[in-house]
Symmetry: C2
Subunit: 412 residues, 2 copies
């Protein structure tokens, strides 16, 4: 058909893929819920299943390689964290600040120590200490997106525990960045390469962004949105609110933080009082307007995360054993960190909330895969698969544990 191209929309394939992803995400979420698991775990499993289907039958679309799902899923987690931020205010976060700080610091120190011990135990003798150190560093990250979604699902986003978890995740992002820079710097130094940016510079930049956002940002925002409320258009609030979130996500990323930290900060800064004129005119709150976007985009993120796992590399006995042991250490370290936030159930909720490693850990592995020690790559393919397996186990264990303690608490 020489004219087949005439009306062929290059978007058509993407439309089909998105329809498939939404349908399968919802079915997966439903199955998980019937098994009394958070629906996120079902969405992760669906992603893994779709990727396996593609490997088995190459005509099946490759979810993990689609730039469209990559983009939409990435936007999904940014919008999700903005929505979580909107549910709290800066003063509420300051109240839990000390608890979050304790949780974050314990949640970096303990998994690091446990990871070092585990790597020393599991790796063949004579492995470089730098490798132990890097594996331990991978256990420090916290992927807040998953816990945020579970907390939302259970209506606990604006609970005290929810705030401690998210606050700790922000601190964790700063600490994780430092650990990554420090370890990478040590590897580079051991190889005799030039040193990277100083630890102090990195820290100053990241903290500087947060301080400026929460001081200057809070002063300027009411003024910006009172300007915006003079616009006569009917559909102004959501595009401008999202624009604000994306701007801060971008700036945060320039300062070395994950984009989601900036988006979360934007949500915290924006308070109902700043936008009440616009909300009244559009007869919807910003939270209500953002909600459908989260509903549509965040399942794509979780399915995509599942789809990025290589089942062939994962399902080898040796890899699984390595991953399982490391995961137990990682879960234990983060779980104990929960006691930095309180006692009893509260400690359990916070601890489980810190367990998922997800995409932040994957960024670590990707960074590590590029490091070379004395000319040889630092991470072998087996170690990479093992660490990815660890991340996957924690990523599924986190929401399962969190859903379990939240359900138990509600019943009691």
């Amino acid at each position: 058909m020489p004219f087949a191209f005439l009306m062929h929309d290059p978007l058509a394939g993407t439309l089909m893929l998105l329809a498939l992803l939404w349908l399968s995400a919802k079915v997966g979420g439903e199955l998980a819920m019937r098994l009394k698991l958070p629906s996120v775990t079902g969405e992760l499993a669906v992603g893994l299943a779709l990727a396996t289907l593609h490997r088995a039958w190459s005509a099946f679309p490759d979810v993990a390689a689609s730039p469209a799902t990559e983009l939409l899923g990435g936007l999904g987690v940014v919008v999700l964290m903005f929505a979580v931020g909107l549910e709290s205010t800066v003063p509420q976060m300051l109240k839990v600040g000390l608890a979050s700080l304790r949780v974050a610091v314990i949640g970096v120190v303990l998994p690091m120590a446990a990871g070092l011990a585990g790597a020393w135990l599991l790796l063949p003798q004579g492995s470089p200490f730098m490798l132990d150190l890097f594996i331990a560093a991978c256990l420090c990250a916290t992927s807040i997106g998953i816990s945020a979604q579970v907390l939302r699902e259970k209506g606990a986003s604006d609970s005290l525990e929810g705030r401690i978890i998210v606050g700790a995740a922000v601190v964790d992002d700063v600490l994780g960045l430092l650990v990554l820079v420090a370890v990478s710097g040590m590897v580079a130094a051991a190889s005799g390469a030039v040193a990277g940016p100083g630890l102090m510079n990195t820290l100053a930049l990241a903290l500087g962004f947060l301080v400026v956002a929460f001081t200057l940002g809070r002063l300027v925002t009411p003024y910006l949105f009172s300007l915006a409320s003079r616009l006569r258009g009917e559909e102004v609030l959501l595009p401008l609110g999202l624009g604000f979130a994306f701007l801060l996500a971008w700036l945060g990323n320039l300062a070395g933080l994950a984009s989601i930290v900036g988006a979360y900060a934007a949500g915290l800064i924006l308070e109902p009082a700043h936008i009440e004129d616009l909300e009244r005119r559009e007869r919807r709150t910003l939270e209500e307007l953002v909600h459908p976007l989260v509903t549509v985009l965040s399942p794509l993120f979780f399915v995509l995360m599942g789809a990025k796992v290589d089942p062939a590399a994962l399902f080898k006995p040796a890899t699984l054993g390595f991953a399982a042991l490391l995961a137990v250490l990682g879960v234990a370290g983060k779980y104990l960190a929960g006691f930095g936030g309180g006692k009893g159930t509260r400690a359990a909720v916070v601890g489980w909330g810190m367990v998922p490693r997800g995409e932040v850990g994957l960024i670590f592995v990707a960074a590590g895969a590029q490091l070379r020690l004395n000319g040889a790559p630092l991470l072998s393919a087996e170690v990479q698969a093992g660490v990815i397996g660890t991340l996957l186990i924690t990523t599924v264990a986190g929401p399962v544990g969190l859903g379990w303690v939240l359900r138990g608490r509600r019943r009691s």
Copy 2:
């Protein structure tokens, strides 16, 4: 900074670009509204301005070349047409069916005749007749996205005129496809190339899709969504509704129609009765849930359309003259077609609603640019720029005229 990549999110640039686009789209829309123009015209102008900025200062991001805005804008117009479809039902559309058919047929025949006359007048003597024919064909298309947005803005989407316009645009899409296939086939035949798919095949496929969607689709849909209402999840309606729309958009595109026709058909088919269980449980109607998506995505589409125009090719006196004369003929042809839908103001509303050519015309030009007659390209660069100029003028004239008659009607 050797570690700058460590935390650099590849999405960050896109986040910044989207923030910029939303902010500038809203400012452009505001300016247009203060000039008593529909805000779409302001968004188109903003796109043109951003593209000009990029050409003048290459450090400025290239909006038109960003795959992210291309994707999001494309999704935007699909979601917009789904939302428009949701506002009407199939029986309501059947009531205006005959009027829509008349408007569409006149709206293809008159601009075609006017275009032939205009091209014969404007092009140098000895130009091939095929070229006249192709230029005339470019004047037949109707880009419904823009009129749909103006009608929504003025609260007239579910008016009788609104339905006639959208119905005529669907018929127009089928007719436009036929004209395009016929003209391309004639060019190919004149060059001695193999003939394309028969006209009859193309017609049968496109009509077949519409007939199956409106008969079988209407029978199956209630059953599908009653299955969906058994899902226990809280956030099911929007992903599944959008999935349904995207699926029909994809199928429609396979049948040779524009994706937006399929998405519109999905909205028509889905009736409140099918989803009332889900709507009750989620305490929102599907229309309310889709609305924020339209708010966020459709401005990206209009800014992108503006950004795709090459100001350097457009702002030449010869091109402008050619474009202006052709545009007058094109506007007149479509305006007169409005009388197929009624008399007086109704004719004016329908006529102006059919005026914008927009992206459908651009698809025609892109298709024509690939055609060769006796070895030489059919469309020279000047003719291409002239036709694109024509499209641009109609695309701005349409919403301006439509806004003007709708305001006049409300006042009287």
